[in-house]
Each structure stands twice: as structure tokens, then as C-alpha cells.
């Protein structure tokens, strides 16, 4: 599980995006160490407070940050290229129209701008240090940002100072602003991917969760009730019609999804042109939770707004197209489970609405009357053996 969450093991099923993602991930984690110094400097009124104490290690670290920043920058460019020039199929699906596409682009652009700010700041910082402007300290060669320094030739000290301070403030405010933006964005993934992986299903993927409330009824009907407990007077809803019928893990997963679309790109239904897209299922769950949440915050009707996940977000056509093949669950780098949502909603349609397709209703009838999904007489079940029983054993 740690390998999946921290080691991104499942990402490496597709090596190129895995590498780009790993650069962003490591870059994000490591460059935040520098932000720690930013905050210290800001609060103490110092400049590069850790430089004198750490000495050579500091220069080494800053160079490391620069290489990572450059790596992040390049990754973002390639990722935008994949989205807008190569137009990979999973990034051009209908569920990404509008805000999801803008959100994805904003995230990449903001990250690029922030990385540019770091490199610019370091370049200006060293120009000032070389001019012995206090409190700037000369650091031994910063390999990458020194490449930018020639651009600053001919700038006055004041101008470079403004550039350096501007980049510093831009970076720290940008990061803090981005942290707030993330909570409104699919990018909440960067925090929730970890708990979502922790709570992911580790049992055999083929197992559908049982419904104990049904077992009691069934045992009563078959006359084999094991307890004398009376059946609860008020039964809850069977299956899921809306978000409150789903488990909190389903909802957590919906927020951890970053809409990469690996699930959809491996879904046999989607691949053959059906309406179902497992990514859309996750997005629909999150969007409905957001809608209900906003309604409650505004003193509105919340869940009772006359809408529901089934019908207003996810159609029966989508639910019915699923082959329960688990390709989506397998493909998800953080093991999110769109199939769980689909199957819970199918239960609602079948048991509360009796709204399953006619051919399934026929299959149900066959099973009730002849204990087989096909209409054969149960007494013929063993007929296959007649021929083989007459055959001489070789």
C-alpha cells in the first residue's frame, strides 16, 4: 500500500506519464522545504537564514531545488503538450469539457509560473550578491539560475532588487494562494490520494459486498432464520440513489480523483463507444456532493433539492453498460473504485425501482422459477452426463 501511495507503483504501468508525474511529486515535496525557509525569512526579517549554518550543504540543496524546479517546468510543458497538441484520447472525453479542462490547465500553468519565479529569484539574488548588496550572500555556483543572469545585464541594482523581491513575494503568495485553490480543484488529489489509498479495498476485486439486511429477509423467507430477532420495522433504502447512500470511502475517493482517465481509457464499454465512463462516475459523485454541500451552506434544501445522483448525474444507460470487469479499478493508480458506485446504484434501480432492462427481468424470472438464468427445466440440469456415462473409458 505504501508502494502504491508513496512509491506510485501503479503509475509505472505507463512509464512516460509515470516519470513526469514522479518529477512533479518529488519536486512538490522537496521544493516545499525551501518554502519553509521562505516562511522563516519572512517572519524573522532575515535573508536566506539557513545559508550560514548549512554552508556547502545549503548550496547543494539550492542546486537540487533548482534542478527539480527545472524538471517540474519541463514536465508541465510536456504534460500540456500531451493535452493540447497530441490530444491523447483520455484528455478529450466529453466529461472534461468546461471547468475540468480549465482546472487542469490552470494547475499546470500555475506550477510553471511558480517554478519560473524560483529560478528568477535565485538569479537576481546572486546578481545582487555579486554586487555586494546587503543582505545578499554569494553562494557558490547555482548551475541553472546562473544561466538566466546574462538576461539581467544592464539592469540597475534597484531594478534587480525589485525583481528579486517581486519573485520572492510572488512565489510565497503564489504557493499559499495555490494551497487555497487546491481545495476547490481536482488537485485536492495531492492530499487525499494518500488516505484514499489507505482505505482502498484489499480483498479480491471480484467480491461484491454483501447486504446483511437482505440476508435476514432471505432467511425468514426460506424458513431458516437463525435468530429470533424481529426484522427492523423500518428498512433503509436498498442500494444507492444519491450520495448519502454511498459510503464515506466512496465520497473520499471521488475527491481524491484527479481525472487522469486511465480508468476510462481501459473501460471496455467506453472503448467501444458506450456512454459509460468510470471517470465521469467519480466526477459526478464529487460534483453532487459539492452541490448538496453548497446548498446546505446557503441554508438551502441540500439533499432534498429534488435532484439525485441517479438520473440528474448518472443515467441508467451508463450503469447498464458496465461489464463489472474491474479494468477501471486495476487501472487507477490510487486504486479508486468506480465499480463500487456503479454496483450500488444498480442495486437501487433493481430493488427500489424495479427499473432494470426487460431482458434482465426475464433473467430474474428464469432464475426464480428454474434456478438458471436461462429458461430450462431444472430437471434437465443433469442431462449432460447421460452421453458421457454411456461412453467407454479409454
Amino acid at each position: 500500500m505504501a508502494l502504491v501511495a508513496f512509491g506510485q507503483q501503479k503509475m509505472f504501468a505507463r512509464p512516460i506519464p509515470a516519470l513526469l508525474h514522479a518529477l512533479l511529486y518529488v519536486g512538490f515535496l522537496v521544493i516545499n522545504l525551501e518554502v519553509f525557509e521562505f516562511v522563516l525569512d519572512g517572519l524573522l526579517g532575515t535573508h536566506r537564514v539557513l545559508a550560514p549554518t548549512l554552508g556547502k550543504a545549503y548550496v547543494f540543496a539550492i542546486n537540487g531545488f533548482e534542478f527539480l524546479a527545472f524538471g517540474v517546468l519541463i514536465s508541465c510543458v510536456i504534460l500540456l503538450f500531451r493535452r493540447y497538441v497530441l490530444r491523447l484520447a483520455r484528455f478529450t472525453k466529453p466529461e472534461l469539457k468546461g471547468w475540468p479542462r480549465l482546472d487542469a490547465t490552470l494547475i499546470l500553468v500555475i506550477e510553471m509560473v511558480l517554478m519560473c519565479a524560483i529560478l528568477t529569484m535565485n538569479a537576481a539574488d546572486q546578481v545582487l550578491a555579486n554586487q555586494a548588496v546587503s543582505p545578499y550572500l554569494p553562494l557558490q555556483t547555482l548551475f541553472l539560475s546562473s544561466q538566466i543572469q546574462p538576461l539581467l545585464q544592464g539592469w540597475s541594482t534597484e531594478e534587480v532588487l525589485i525583481l528579486e523581491r517581486g519573485a520572492w513575494w510572488f512565489h510565497i503568495l503564489g504557493i499559499l494562494g495555490f494551497a487555497v485553490y487546491v481545495t476547490f480543484s481536482k488537485h485536492l488529489h495531492i492530499f487525499l490520494a494518500f488516505p484514499a489509498t489507505w482505505y482502498s479495498n484489499l480483498r479480491a476485486k471480484g467480491e461484491m459486498e454483501s447486504m446483511p439486511e437482505v440476508t435476514k429477509e432471505v432467511q425468514l423467507m426460506l424458513g431458516i432464520a437463525t435468530t429470533s430477532e424481529p426484522a427492523p420495522s423500518e428498512m433503509g433504502r436498498f442500494g444507492a440513489k444519491d450520495i448519502n447512500d454511498l459510503s464515506w470511502v466512496n465520497l473520499l475517493q471521488a475527491y481524491a480523483c484527479t481525472e487522469c482517465g486511465r480508468c476510462t481509457s481501459e473501460c471496455p464499454a467506453n472503448l467501444t463507444g458506450k456512454k459509460l465512463s468510470p471517470r465521469k462516475i467519480m466526477m459526478d459523485v464529487r460534483d453532487r456532493v459539492e452541490e448538496v454541500g453548497k446548498s446546505i451552506d446557503a441554508g438551502g434544501k441540500g439533499l432534498e433539492d429534488g435532484k439525485s445522483l441517479l438520473g440528474d448525474y448518472i443515467s441508467k444507460e451508463e450503469l447498464n453498460a458496465c461489464t463489472s470487469c474491474n479494468a477501471c479499478v486495476q487501472a487507477c493508480p490510487i486504486s479508486l473504485d468506480p465499480l463500487s458506485v456503479i454496483l450500488q446504484m444498480r442495486r437501487y434501480v433493481a430493488m427500489e425501482e424495479s427499473g432494470t432492462p426487460a431482458q434482465w427481468n426475464t433473467m430474474f424470472q428464469n432464475m426464480e422459477t428454474s434456478f438458471s438464468p436461462w429458461k430450462f427445466s431444472p430437471s434437465d440440469r443433469f442431462n449432460w452426463a447421460e452421453k458421457v456415462k454411456e461412453e467407454e473409458m479409454k
Binding site: R203, A204, K205, G206, E207, M208, S210, M211, V214, T215, V218, Q219, L222, F238, G239, E266, P268, A269, L271, T272, G273, K274, K275, L276, E317, N320, A321, T323, S324, C325, N326, A327, Q330, L343, R346, A350, M351, T356, Q359, W360, T362, M363, F364, M367, F371, S372, P373, P378, D380, R381, F382, N383, W384, A385, K387, V388, E391, E392, M393, K394
Partner: protein, 263 residues
């Protein structure tokens, strides 16, 4: 010379005998004309090897898998609880089945309802028999040296992570195993799972079994081996659609093994 035996658990119990394994035949194995041949091939293997087995015969009922996947939990549990009562009454310990859907349901879903058995798929059972030297394969055979591809069924593969057993069975046959582009954990569904077998697909650009058949044909294999009755139907339909019945066969693992045993 004696004939092949197919004892039922009821007959065994009447004679105070307990078989080692219950062969769970499943609805397709009992009623589907094509898959009945697979069932027959498998019991011939069991006879030949001398495995102590029995079937439920008329006492078997659908595991309930398609009802559960279609959302009808009541119907599923009615089937499941009834089956578990029968199996527990016969004190069944070990179940072998040629259907990955039955395999998954009995293995993973019956325990929650009081049915605890050791469940193995016939590909695993055949692999064991080959491994133990109990199945003796004769040389030659119609696919000797030819290409065979294996289509992973979702409920055997991703659902239960059985990828190697069927492949080892095929490799023991002295044939060339070729993989499709999407195989093992990335295998593409045949289109029948999740109760799709029992209804028409939703509107789309293509049927899933056609997509998968095209991929199988692209390997140049003379046979598509499967380990699932629904996959067998879907892939056979796909081959017919592509009008390749004359040069490409869709066969179950048990049939391949039985043929090479000369039975």
C-alpha cells in the same frame, strides 16, 4: 472396460462415501450445448486421473452471480443461501468449477453467507494435475507447434489474480503461447460480465466481443483458448462475425487437455 462415471453427491451420501471434491458444473456447463462438451471433457479427465469427485446434478442451482451484478441482491441471496444449505448438508470441503463467475461467487461471496469452501478453478486444478504428473499428455495433437493465444476472463484474472495457471496448462501442450496486446491484468473483457451475457449491449460504436476478437486475430493464433463459458460464447460469436470459423477455433482449456490425453 468400464464407462465414465459421474456420481452425484446424493448417490455418494447414500453409499456413505465422501468425495474429495465437488465439481460445480454451473448453468452454462449444464445447459449450453457448446459448454456441455467442456463439462464432458473435464469429467473424462477426472475419471481418467482417478480423482474422487461428485457433482450435485439436479440439486445444483445458479450461484446467483448475474442477479447480484444486475442489482437484484434478494434473488442472489435466495440462490446463494439455498446452495449453501445443500453444500453444507453434504459437508462439502473443496469445490472445482470450470466457470470463473461461479468460482468467484462461491470463493469470495459465499463465506459472508455461511458457505466456506476451498474453491479452485479448473485451470488451477489442471495445472496441479499436470504438475503432479497425473495428467499424461501424448505427443502431437492438432495444435502441436502452432500458435494459441489465451483470453483472460475478468473474473479469473483481475478479480482473483489467476493469470499463470491457464498459461502453464497451455505451455504443457507443446504449442506456442502468444499473448494479445492487452493481457493478464490489462486483459480486455469479452463483454459478457456483469450480467451483460443476458441482455443486448447499450448503444455504442462496436460490440466489445468484436474488439476483443480483432485483437485475438491480430496475434495470428490458430486457436483462442478460454477458461470461461461466457468468454467462449462471446469469442465464438466474434469469430463467426469475422467469418474466420474455418481457420480459428475457440476452445476451453479442458478440451485441449482432454484431446491431448486421447480421451
Amino acid at each position: 472396460m468400464s464407462t465414465y462415471q459421474v456420481p452425484t453427491l446424493a448417490e455418494m451420501a447414500a453409499a456413505s462415501k465422501t468425495p474429495e471434491i465437488l465439481f460445480w458444473v454451473g448453468c452454462a456447463g449444464s445447459f449450453d450445448e457448446r459448454y456441455k462438451i467442456v463439462t464432458q471433457a473435464f469429467v473424462k479427465i477426472l475419471n481418467k486421473v482417478g480423482v474422487s469427485f461428485a457433482v450435485l446434478g439436479p440439486e445444483e442451482a445458479c450461484t446467483g452471480d448475474p442477479a447480484r451484478r444486475a442489482g437484484n441482491e434478494f434473488l442472489f441471496q435466495m440462490q446463494a443461501v439455498a446452495n449453501i444449505q445443500v453444500m453444507n448438508a453434504y459437508e462439502v470441503k473443496k469445490v472445482v468449477t470450470a466457470c470463473p463467475h461461479c468460482f468467484n461467487t462461491i470463493k469470495n461471496e459465499y463465506p459472508a453467507l455461511g458457505g466456506n469452501y476451498e474453491v479452485i478453478h479448473h485451470s488451477q486444478f489442471l495445472q496441479q494435475l499436470i504438475h503432479e504428473g497425473k495428467v499424461v499428455l501424448q505427443g502431437g495433437g492438432e495444435f502441436k507447434g502452432k500458435k494459441i493465444t489465451f483470453h483472460d476472463s475478468c473474473y479469473l484474472g483481475r478479480a482473483n489474480e489467476v493469470y499463470e495457471a491457464p498459461r502453464e496448462v497451455i505451455q504443457a501442450l507443446d504449442v506456442e503461447l502468444v499473448e494479445m496486446k492487452r493481457c493478464k491484468s490489462k486483459g480486455l473483457c469479452c463483454g459478457a460480465g456483469g450480467a451483460q451475457m443476458f441482455k443486448e449491449p447499450e448503444p455504442g460504436a462496436k460490440d466489445i466481443n468484436i474488439e476483443r476478437t480483432e485483437e485475438a486475430l491480430a496475434t495470428g493464433a490458430q486457436a483462442i483458448a478460454v477458461g470461461c463459458p461466457f468468454c467462449l460464447t462471446m469469442m465464438t460469436d466474434g469469430i463467426k462475425n469475422k467469418e474466420r470459423e474455418s481457420d480459428v477455433q475457440v476452445v476451453d482449456l479442458a478440451e485441449l487437455v482432454a484431446k491431448r490425453m486421447g480421451i
